[in-house]
């Protein structure tokens, strides 16, 4: 989900639905919005067998 950070784009915290042909990457790169769906958990698991 894309969330609004900057009030210039909308209400902060609300979901951002990019209008047609919006350059979303530019908004992400400069912190206007954030993609909460791509955040990785701090905890990681490994498939390697334990000793």
């Amino acid at each position: 989900m894309i969330k609004i950070i900057s009030p210039r784009v909308g209400v902060p915290g609300e979901e951002f639905t990019p209008p047609e042909y919006t350059n979303l990457q530019a908004l992400l790169d400069y912190g206007f919005v954030e993609d909460t769906g791509t955040k990785k958990s701090a905890k990681t698991t490994s498939d390697e067998p334990k000793d």
Partner: protein, 139 residues
């Protein structure tokens, strides 16, 4: 004397970012390029419509702070984006017949002045977007 006038105070977004409070002038123009259709037998010139060529020009105060002018525009150079503009701020959110919202999609930004500074003056830049598809919303 004009019976109805409009004191310039539009609202606009560039790539979904509202930069109305940084903008001091804005012009969106719809052009249907004229094609000369005059032929032998006529001494007058006649034209038919060719391709459209919409343009959007605006002047903005430059700011390098977060979520301001530079941050909005830096990644747009050489790409296509969407512009929206309405005569009023209310029209941008809820367009009406008397406050239409013009949307220019896939319009191309060729250049961005990175620094335009003059001693003792507020820095401002002029942008020119070219091409794209223009739609008008009145509801």
């Amino acid at each position: 004397m004009a019976t109805s006038t409009y004191l310039s105070n539009p609202a606009l977004t560039i790539n979904a970012v509202n930069l109305s409070d940084q903008c001091t002038s804005a012009t969106i123009t719809s052009v249907s390029q004229a094609q000369n259709s005059s032929a032998f037998g006529s001494t007058d010139s006649f034209f038919v419509t060719g391709m459209t060529m919409h343009t959007f020009e605006c002047e903005l105060f430059m700011s390098y702070a977060a979520s301001e002018t530079y941050a909005t525009l830096a990644a747009l150079v050489g790409t296509q984006t969407t512009i929206t503009i309405s005569p009023t701020a209310a029209g941008l959110a809820t367009p009406t017949a008397t406050a239409p919202k013009f949307t220019l999609t896939n319009t191309y930004l060729e250049s961005l002045p990175l620094i335009n500074a003059t001693l003792g003056e507020l820095s401002s830049i002029t942008l020119s977007f070219q091409g794209g598809t223009l739609t008008t919303a009145t509801s």
